[in-house]
Amino acid sequence: MYRALWRSLPGPVVVRILILALMTAVLLVVLDQWVFPWMAATFVDDQATVGPAS
């Protein structure tokens, strides 16, 4: 999978690394803004209050 990705990138090694770094940055932003908030809301039991379980 990652090997295929690496092969599909154009240009010399330096350019490929730059492209990968950019892709990683975009991925981290997507995770931070959308994926992780969704995971937190879906999987984490974060009740801080006393009272009937909701």
Binding site: L31, V35, D46, A48
Partner: protein, 261 residues
């Protein structure tokens, strides 16, 4: 990153296994990142934001208080406590806001950090109050308001969304909890902890854990989950007692408030 074996071309099954393995590793890394994000990165970002908006709110409340106090005796002041009267009967108590997420004031607890402060909103609604980047601390609807007779009960997360009460169980006897509202500053002093089951709603009673008893004391109860792991199987309630009201900010907060300008 990839293994450099099998250049001659592995079978389709081996290739599929390789892809599956890489996918699993990717998922594991993302889950690991999520844990770090949830416990450290997001609380840090959200906490800074919550402190920032609380500072703004605090400044606004102070200005509001000043403008109310400046025309002396022209307007009938709410309560007779403008001159720092410390008799309990002279403590002005604001009415409970009608809507969830209405702003009540700003909470200061120096033990939780020299810069620690959070906006206090009506209700313990998860989305609008506890998880909000502009709040963090919620008031249990129906409990007393700051300075009121009975139990003024508030809640916040320990881990996640600003880590507001992460260090709540580090409070020590005599630590102060300050509540700033549009009327002035209410001071409570921490007294003790109680560790309870998550459904122990009786810690919010006017006399905590003694149901259906009208209390005559002015108490505060701060709750959060405990311990700070998932799922949190217990809750901690931190109790305190009311010590005074003033229209002037407390001396202990002077350095922090001076930074606001």
């Amino acid at each position: 990153m990839a293994a450099e074996r099998g250049a001659a071309g592995p079978s389709a099954a081996v290739k599929a296994l390789g892809v599956a393995g890489e996918l699993l590793i990717t998922i594991a890394v993302i889950i690991g990142l999520f844990v770090l994000w949830y416990a450290y990165f997001n609380p840090w970002v959200v906490g800074l934001r919550q402190e920032h908006v609380a500072a703004q709110q605090s400044r606004q409340l102070s200005q509001q208080l000043k403008s109310q106090a400046s025309p002396p005796a022209s307007a009938p002041s709410p309560g007779a406590a403008a001159a720092g009267d410390q008799r309990p009967s002279a403590v002005p108590v604001m009415a409970e806001p009608p809507n969830i997420a209405d702003t009540i004031g700003v909470v200061y607890i120096p033990r939780l950090g020299s810069d620690w402060r959070r906006i206090l909103r009506e209700s313990v609604n998860t989305e609008l109050v506890l998880n909000s980047v502009t709040a963090g601390v919620g008031h249990y609807s129906g409990t007393a308001m700051p300075g009121g007779v009975g139990n003024f009960a508030i809640a916040a997360h320990d881990i996640g969304y600003g880590n507001s009460f992460l260090n709540l169980s580090k409070l020590r006897l005599g630590d102060k909890v300050y509540i700033q509202t549009s009327l002035g500053w209410y001071t409570y002093t921490f007294r003790n902890f109680q560790f309870v089951q998550p459904d122990a709603i009786n810690v919010l009673d006017a006399v905590p854990t003694v149901s259906r008893t009208p209390g005559s004391d002015r108490l505060i109860t701060l709750t959060t989950c405990y311990p700070a792991i998932f799922p949190p199987l217990e809750r901690v309630a931190a109790y305190g007692t009311f010590v005074g009201f003033s229209t002037a900010p407390p001396a202990e907060l002077a350095p922090l408030l001076a930074k606001d300008g």
